[in-house]
């Protein structure tokens, strides 16, 4: 973990060099109220670790589930309480490391709600007896002990604190005031995810391969990010976003440092957001990871990563946008084209949704590079809609099973509507939302993003995006065709009747998708609540 250690070194060394005012060494009480949600989540994660250490094995699962849900609810209450008298312009907290402004609060709320759905999926033990996670991760796959533990009912309950740690990292990530906090948050959110990807109960080799792949590529991306931070520090003499922005305004410093630094930084961010062509990990990891973790990654990581991208682009680099926007135009086009076209060739449901997420990342990037208030609120709204839809999508994927676990091959979904009309209907609705059909949240999200883009003079990009949407619609439709118009195979999979947790998670995702499609006004108002502090 040389990446981590160098980060810590920089974090220690960066403080005195920064020309920021000398930090006050007393924690300001009002500043702390702003970050209670983060503190609750991270604190609960630490308690969860203690539970693992001290509770007997059979008590851990209920204790962890209750703790996680309480932590999310508590963080939500803290957030709602803070919102009632939050300063409109935002405020900084914890030695100016975090900035809690309206977009950050919106992202926190979104992350907490999505994490609630994910925890419900993770906690489910009805779909797969014992849960989707391996009982003892240390046993080597394929051994006699391993075959025995497939039927064991226990699971590695460390998943819960790991989820909370990742969530805490995500929340810090999109509220970071400087690039070093952002980097540490990136590692805090990534390391638990790498681990959780490898914990699948079934198909363990595939799962572990996904974990290694994600870890290696993620480490590369982190290195890119860090190198970018270093170059930007050399350019601006500070890692604080607002000071980088100030440095770009009419200085005679080296543009090479600026754009090389920014390029490396953005590559790291785009990797996390699985924007093509930095998406190569996405299909493998989405396919191999336990489905609840895939849901968590697809929903929450996307939100956090785009929260970070929005903040970096809008706060630090807005004034130089005419230099780099063309490049990100290209990246958005590549991402949409890769997602839409490679999605056509997929035969696995989870991989198909992975490519769909790459295409969606392209749409999101369009909103992110419309550097206007509208672009910000549109992208935030899109993140909200996409998160819930994709959460529900993976929830449904986890229900369709055969003897060897989840039946993710598309051919196994043939004729599903005959066996289980409800599940097929729900999945059809989700697919239509992903395709952006009106009266679903997916359409409203696309609409606001494209509106912001056209308003900011990016009409050609929007036309490309619309054509990509039409191409992507084909692979969503193909699944609908399979489910409704094909004859079921004789030895096809069965649809598991989900327990309360999974039912709740899918219902949450579907209801939000429907609600934001029919009456999006309230959420649009939330998303348009304010701009980033320091712009």
């Amino acid at each position: 973990m040389s990446v981590m250690s160098s980060a810590l070194f920089l974090a220690q060394g960066g403080g005195p060099l920064a020309p920021a005012p000398a930090p006050e060494f007393s924690i300001d009480p009002p500043a702390l109220t702003a970050v209670w949600p983060v503190l609750i989540v991270l604190g609960a994660a630490c308690v969860g670790v203690l539970f693992e250490a001290f509770l007997p094995r059979h008590q851990r699962w209920p204790a962890q589930v209750i703790l996680s849900l309480l932590a999310l609810a508590g963080a939500g209450v803290a957030l709602a309480t803070y919102l009632t008298d939050a300063p409109a312009g935002g405020e900084t907290a914890i030695f100016d490391a975090l900035v809690v402004d309206r977009p950050a609060l919106f992202l926190w709320g979104t992350l907490l709600a999505l994490a609630l759905g994910s925890v419900l999926l993770i906690a489910d033990r009805s779909v797969e007896p014992g849960g989707a996670f391996v009982a003892t991760a240390a046993i080597r796959p394929g051994t006699v002990q391993d075959r025995a533990q497939v039927t064991a009912t226990g699971m590695q309950t460390e998943v819960f604190p790991l989820t909370l740690f990742a969530l805490g990292g995500m929340m810090i990530f999109c509220a970071s005031n400087d690039l070093l906090t952002m980097f540490i948050a990136l590692e805090v959110l990534s390391l638990p995810l790498y681990l959780m990807c490898g914990l699948a109960r079934r198909r363990r080799l595939l799962s572990q391969e996904a974990a290694v792949k994600y870890f290696l590529l993620g480490a590369f991306a982190s290195a890119f990010f860090l190198y970018g931070v270093a170059l930007l520090y050399g350019y601006a003499g500070s890692v604080r976003l607002s000071e980088i922005s100030a440095a770009t305004a009419g200085s005679d410093r080296s543009d090479t440092l600026l754009f090389a630094g920014m390029g490396l930084l953005v590559v790291g961010l785009l990797f996390k957001a699985s924007v093509g062509p930095f998406h190569t990990w996405t299909p493998d990891v989405y396919q191999g990871a336990p489905t609840p973790i895939t849901a968590f990654m697809a929903a929450c990581t996307k939100v956090a990563a785009f929260g970070g991208i929005l903040r970096v682009l809008q706060v630090a680099f807005e004034s130089t946008s005419w230099e780099w926007r063309g490049v990100l135009w290209g990246v958005a086009i590549v991402s949409m084209v890769i997602g839409a076209i490679l999605g056509l060739t997929q035969t696995d449901v989870k991989r198909m949704i992975a490519y769909s997420s790459v295409a969606h990342a392209g749409f999101l990037l369009i909103g992110a590079i419309a550097l206007t208030e509208k672009g910000l609120s549109a992208t935030l709204f899109y993140l909200l809609t996409y998160g819930f839809t994709t959460l529900a999508a993976f929830g449904v994927v986890s229900l369709v099973r055969d003897g060897s676990g989840e039946a993710t091959h598309l051919s196994q979904w043939a004729g599903l509507a005959k066996r289980s009309p409800l599940v097929a209907g729900v999945f059809t609705f989700i697919l239509l939302a992903l395709a952006g059909i009106p009266l679903t949240s997916g359409f409203v999200g696309k609409f606001v993003v494209f509106e912001a883009a056209i308003d900011d003079g990016m009409a050609p990009l929007v036309v490309v995006a619309l054509i990509a949407s039409a191409v992507a619609a084909f692979f969503y439709l193909r699944v609908i065709v399979l489910m409704y118009f094909s004859e079921p195979a004789a030895d096809g999979p069965t649809v598991t009747v989900p327990g309360a947790f999974t039912t709740a998670a899918i219902t949450l995702g579907v209801l939000v998708t429907l609600l934001l499609g029919l009456a999006p006004s309230f959420a649009l108002d939330w998303a348009a609540g304010g701009v980033f502090a320091g712009r």
Binding site: I437, P438, F443, F447, I467, A470, A473, Y484, F485, S521
Partner: protein
């Protein structure tokens, strides 16, 4: 919430089929009850449509029976509906066709595992959405309904259609969806432009948009025009964006084919009139040659391919493509005469082609094949069916005395002053029409009894059975299959159409009087004047 007088009629027209669809879905366990309920709802809807027509004052406000309330205030989106004369006659045609389609689909052999209740519920849902598309007066709402109405149709084709239904359903959906998405870019651009004009908050209200953006620079207008035009040209369909229609028509169940050709396709030509001309007058004029070339190409291409078809359902699709060429010609010839002709053509095409499809469906139900070559001399077995096919065919070729003649005549006469060459070429299409209709009739109905569908090979295909009723069994030769003539249900389905074809052919005034003021308003909004001023009727713009 704002509303004008009689808006409850329109609201009821929108809600009744929705309620019907929900009720019929609930009753789908019992086929007979579900069918009767669906028929009841569709007849009530028809009665409402007639009521709305009576309540409509042709010389009153442009948009009547209007109501509106906020949907997404952040983007100035309203749920707002209202009708002008053009929308009203289309809604009435929907109201007429749906009960007939339900009647025609009464004994439809559905694929295994599907219920008639589900089938009819989807048809009622489609009806509600198409009424909404014609009545929407908010461009955003129009777009939403324009896309949503694909979904029930997709399931109608994909779940209840013929052998290649999956392919046809997906092709239909993707074509229309792509067109819609391109239109979305233009819709958003309209909003952004209106926000610039109005200062801050934009609007999607159709009337306000017409006032604010119709004077945009030509180059902008052309881009936006093309966005809408591609969507409508796919829907209408104009050559070369038509290839989904023959597949969809051929694979759809008969009733669904009627809705597809009779109603859904009209959204395209309706869009020309309601959106293209008033919103982009300069671009409409500048791009007229493009549209006219496509229109005339459609007339000739559709006619030629109709002659060459070996499948009856595909035959109807190509006939429709030819007719849509005429309609587009009349709209873009920019004279109130031709445009009135086009609007009445939209009505009469629904009636005539709708009847043609229904009759062909009855032929196919008897013979069990849609190949023309499988039939011959059928008139000997089913004289009544032969007669109705002839009537539907003659209406399709616009024989004087049928309702289509008046429309086609108005289109050609009105188009000649502005577009003489195109009109002359299109007239050739009329000659082809006589050829393809009469030849089809001759091959199926006349001559000696022949064809695999009628003259059964011993032990071959199962004899086609038609559910009993008032039919008369005629068996001229021992090996002939038992084929019955029209039963009373089928007579009830076809009789209203025959009456309308003849009635509107002799007395077209009710339709003409209703659409005329709206056509004039469209002409004025498009900034056009009549090339030839007639003494008895002059276009007067405010």
């Amino acid at each position: 919430m704002t509303s004008s007088s009689n808006s409850w009629l329109l609201a009821a027209l929108l809600l009744l089929p929705l309620v019907g669809a929900a009720v019929v879905t609930g009753l789908r366990g019992n086929d007979r009850v579900a069918k009767l309920t669906a028929l009841g709802f569709s007849l009530a809807e028809f009665a409402l449509a007639i009521g709305a027509w009576i309540a409509y004052a042709p010389d009153g406000a442009r948009i009547q029976q209007h109501f509106s309330f906020d949907w997404i205030p952040a983007f100035g989106v309203h749920i707002s509906f209202g009708v002008d004369g053009i929308a009203l006659v289309m809604i009435a045609v929907i109201g007429l066709l749906v009960p007939l389609v339900i009647g025609a689909g009464w004994a439809e052999k559905l694929p295994e595992g599907r219920t008639a209740g589900g089938f009819f519920a989807l048809i009622l849902l489609e009806q509600a959405l198409t009424v909404g598309v014609f009545a929407a007066t908010d461009v955003f709402l129009f777009y939403v309904l324009f896309e949503i109405m694909l979904i029930p149709m997709y399931f109608l084709i994909g779940s209840y259609g013929g052998a290649r239904r999956q392919y046809a359903a997906v092709k239909f959906f993707l074509y229309s969806f792509l067109g819609g998405l391109i239109m979305l870019a233009s819709v958003i651009a309209l909003y952004v432009m209106s926000a610039d004009e109005l200062g801050g908050q934009g609007t999607f209200d159709w009337a306000t948009l017409v006032q604010t953006v119709s004077d945009a620079p030509l180059s902008t207008q052309i881009w936006l025009f093309l966005g809408f035009f591609i969507a409508f040209a796919i829907k209408a369909p104009l050559v070369p964006l038509h290839t989904w229609l023959p597949d969809a028509t051929a694979e759809a169940p008969i009733g669904v084919a009627v809705l597809l050709v009779g109603i859904l396709d009209k959204v395209g030509t309706f869009g020309f009139l309601r959106y293209l001309l008033p919103l982009f007058p300069a671009a409409s004029e500048a791009l007229t040659p493009l549209v006219l070339v496509l229109a005339v190409a459609g007339v000739i291409y559709g006619s030629l391919l109709a002659v060459g078809q070996s499948d009856m359902k595909r035959f109807v699709a190509y006939v429709s493509i030819a007719h849509f060429g005429f309609i587009a010609l009349g709209i873009f010839a920019f004279s109130s005469q031709a445009m009135t002709g086009s609007v009445t053509y939209m009505v009469n095409h629904s009636i005539a082609t709708g009847m043609l499809i229904l009759v062909i469906g009855m032929v196919i139900a008897r013979g069990g094949s849609s190949r023309i070559a499988d039939y011959g001399g059928m008139a000997k077995l089913t004289p009544l069916l032969a007669g109705t096919l002839l009537i539907a065919g003659l209406a399709s070729l616009s024989l004087p005395g049928t309702s289509s003649f008046i429309s086609e005549f108005l289109v050609l006469v009105g188009s000649y002053p502005n577009a003489p060459v195109y009109t002359i070429i299109a007239t050739v299409g009329m000659v082809f029409a006589a050829l393809y209709v009469l030849w089809l009739y001759q091959r199926i109905m006349q001559g000696p009894l022949r064809g695999a569908a009628l003259v059964g090979a011993t032990g071959g295909a199962a004899p086609a059975t038609v559910e009993g009723g008032g039919g008369v069994a005629v068996a001229t030769e021992p090996e002939t299959k038992k084929i019955l003539d029209l039963n009373s249900r089928e007579k009830w389905v076809l009789a209203p159409l025959v009456l309308l074809i003849v009635g509107l052919g002799l007395y077209p005034k009710p339709v003409l009087a209703t659409v005329q003021p709206s056509v004039d308003a469209t002409m004025c909004a498009a900034g056009q004047t009549d090339p030839v001023q007639s003494a008895e009727r002059q276009l007067q713009c405010p």
